[in-house]
């Protein structure tokens, strides 16, 4: 009933030639129409742009998508109905949205790979910038890799126990107002800007160690402020997935609660917890802003000591090279960016593999 009134009101915009008899089968475009039209439009636009001599991929994509969307909507409005035309229009828009999101991802990965390989080699990965003047054709990122490993490792060492224990509290022990408060503020804490975490440590260190103290440990504490909430969220979700029957079976055998958590709940959820922790590490390993404030941005030598002196890290290395601004600096920055992306991707993929292959098997 409603459909017929709608059809007559919106169908007017299609201004069909004559009121035709509608059955279920009249007025529907064949299934192959949309892909065929898209291919046709792509070939025509591509040819036209080539003929005009202004071919470029963005122009080609924009013209093809716009022309296709207009044509498919018009065709559908003419042959099918106004409602179906709208549906096809939205379908085209939704597909375009997804395509649009792929553009920066592919462009970024491709650019970094293309520019990064110029300088990324064994030499670049194994020497520091010690004694290298900014414009000299030498130097590498070894000191930055050392710093990244030390700072991120220390941050993980601080965050994982706190985060995991909080997750255990939230699932196994928490109740009432304290639990709600912690859940809410952990969520809020995920939204703390990374630079504010850096400033917090600056303020903290000012009180305890005097102004201007920069060292790797300060950077690690700043990163833990950002990492703890992420660890809590992912561990909490994973521990919650452990079936209650397992806990009850353990209690029934007289096992104390804390041993149940340690020996039954955590081993069952260990794959998910590992994945969550690796993703959290992948997230903070690329943090730059807090490290500029806390670990310094001018270290050039290899420094393994978290408690003494400035410490370079890969993200800060990229930033400080860009700030110098010469061609050689950009080459170093791109190569360091490629290194960083490779590390992050590696963490990301290993995390996925862990969650896929070591997930607990509940079935028999």
């Amino acid at each position: 009933m409603t459909t017929t009134t709608k059809k007559s009101s919106t169908g007017a915009s299609g201004d069909g030639p004559a009121p035709m008899q509608r059955t279920l089968l009249t007025g529907s475009l064949p299934r192959y129409f949309a892909p065929a039209l898209l291919a046709g439009v792509a070939i025509v636009t591509g040819g036209l742009l080539f003929a005009l001599g202004t071919f470029s991929i963005p122009l080609f994509a924009v013209f093809t998508v716009v022309t296709y969307t207009v044509l498919v909507t018009l065709a559908s409005a003419r042959i099918e109905s106004g409602r179906k035309a709208k549906d096809r229009l939205v379908t085209a828009v939704v597909y375009t949205c997804f395509g649009l999101a792929m553009v920066p991802l592919i462009s970024l990965l491709w650019t970094v790979a293309r520019m990064g390989v110029v300088r990324l080699d064994g030499y670049f990965l194994t020497v520091s910038m010690n004694g290298v003047t900014p414009t000299m054709d030498a130097g590498g990122v070894y000191h930055a890799i050392v710093g990244t490993i030390a700072i991120t490792g220390f941050a993980a060492l601080v965050s994982i126990p706190i985060g995991l224990m909080t997750a255990i509290y939230l699932v196994e022990y928490g109740r009432g107002r304290l639990k709600n408060a912690i859940t809410f503020f952990v969520d809020v804490m995920t939204g703390i800007p990374s630079i504010v975490a850096g400033l917090f440590v600056v303020a903290l260190w000012m009180v305890f160690f005097g102004p201007g103290t920069t060292n790797g440990a300060a950077g690690a504490v700043a990163l833990s402020v950002l990492m703890i909430p992420v660890v809590v969220r992912s561990c909490e979700e994973m521990i919650r997935l452990v079936p209650n029957e397992l806990r009850e079976a353990s209690y029934a055998l007289g096992v104390p609660k804390w041993l149940t958590v340690v020996k039954v709940v955590l081993p069952t959820a260990i794959a998910g917890i590992t994945t969550g922790i690796m993703l959290a590490i992948a997230r903070v390993i690329g943090e730059t802003a807090p490290l500029i404030l806390t670990a310094g941005s001018s270290a050039v030598a290899i420094n393994w000591n978290l408690f003494d002196g400035q410490m370079m890290s890969l993200p800060v290395f990229i930033y400080s090279q860009v700030r110098m601004g010469d061609a050689i600096n950009y080459e170093r920055a791109w190569a360091a960016a490629l290194t960083l992306i490779l590390i992050v991707m590696l963490l990301f993929f290993v995390a996925r593999l862990v969650s896929r292959f070591f997930a607990p098997k509940f079935g028999r």
Partner: protein, 321 residues
């Protein structure tokens, strides 16, 4: 109802508290309380360290645009221009990202083939895994050069709108470029939240719409969007929170100036986060303390936005359960 339940279940014999249980339970709740303490500590230490410079400030902190803080005598600084720039950059990012993110979420939830959906979601998550400094490098080393011709065209065609007024910056290091990169960076979070809410729409609602003869779009408009509106708003606000606090992309791309200017295609404006990152290494006198005061303002803004977002998302969750 729940309280009576939980008080009735633990019928363990009293007086047999195991030492391990006590220690473990207290460590767990201690960690939780520690998190609350850290959050309170962030606010407390920022306030303590900013009081110093705010007391010495000779200008109004909230209405001054200049930043003359690297001195011991009569510093005069304010966050007016910085706050404006922060909101402006985040607003551009949000305007670009929200519609696209909702489109992507709809695509993954209802348009893409079922088997592909999880893979596609994973690809979008990859966007979130890329470090912000790499986005900054990509923006300054590649994207701005691609965007400059587009800005020229935008300015000649729509220059009568003040936002797009010329002369266009020849380097492309403008608020618009920063906003576009920020939009890319907040896409994944808005997409993830919207997608989750879209997938929660009861199947009965969707099937009811389809069985009445609705097209796919009508089903989405009548069943999915009304149900998912809170999720979209909450996701957008979380994205806003992230855009407000993002440092590196803006610090590397924007050519800053402490002015309040609506011209997106010219260089100028600056955000709080980027200002802190750029100024900190050279800060002397009251400089560091003043930057901490600016950070406190940023912290307050993002806290309000994030709490609002969480509240909206959480309320929707309670409603569906």
């Amino acid at each position: 109802m729940t309280t009576t339940d939980s008080s009735a279940t633990p019928q363990t014999p009293k007086g047999k508290r195991r030492i391990g249980d006590v220690v473990f339970a207290n460590t767990a709740s201690g960690s939780g309380i520690l998190i609350l303490a850290i959050l309170a500590g962030v606010a407390a230490f920022l306030i303590i360290q900013s009081v110093d410079s705010l007391g010495a400030n000779t200008a109004n902190f909230f209405t001054t645009t200049g930043w003359d803080a690297n001195t011991r005598e009569a510093p005069a600084f304010g966050v007016a221009a910085l706050a404006f720039g922060t909101v402006l950059a985040a607003a551009i990012a949000l305007l670009i990202a929200t519609p696209i993110a909702v489109g992507i979420a709809l695509f993954i939830a209802y348009y893409a083939p079922r088997k592909l959906a999880s893979v596609l979601g994973y690809i979008v998550d990859l966007l979130a895994a890329i470090p912000s400094v790499v986005y900054g490098l990509w923006g300054i080393g590649y994207l701005v050069h691609q965007l400059t011709p587009f800005y020229q065209w935008l300015s000649t065609s729509f220059g009568w709108i003040p936002l797009f007024a010329g002369p266009v910056s020849s380097t492309g290091r403008t608020m618009m470029s920063a906003g576009i990169v920020l939009a890319v960076m907040i896409l994944p979070i808005i997409t993830a939240i919207s997608r989750d809410v879209f997938l929660q729409v009861p199947q009965a609602h969707r099937e009811a719409a389809l069985s009445l003869g609705a097209t796919r779009w009508e089903m989405i408009r009548m069943a999915v969007l009304p149900f998912g509106r809170a999720g979209i708003i909450g996701g957008a606000m979380l994205g806003l929170g992230r855009a407000l606090g993002e440092t590196m992309a803006v610090a590397m791309i924007l050519s800053p100036a402490l002015v309040i200017s609506p011209h997106l295609l010219q260089s100028g404006n600056q955000t709080i986060a980027a200002h802190i990152a750029l100024q900190y290494p050279e800060a002397t006198g009251y400089g560091v303390s003043a930057l901490i005061a600016a950070g406190l303002v940023l912290f307050a803004i993002t806290l309000v936005v994030n709490m609002g977002a969480r509240y909206i998302v959480a309320r929707r969750k309670e409603f569906t359960e």
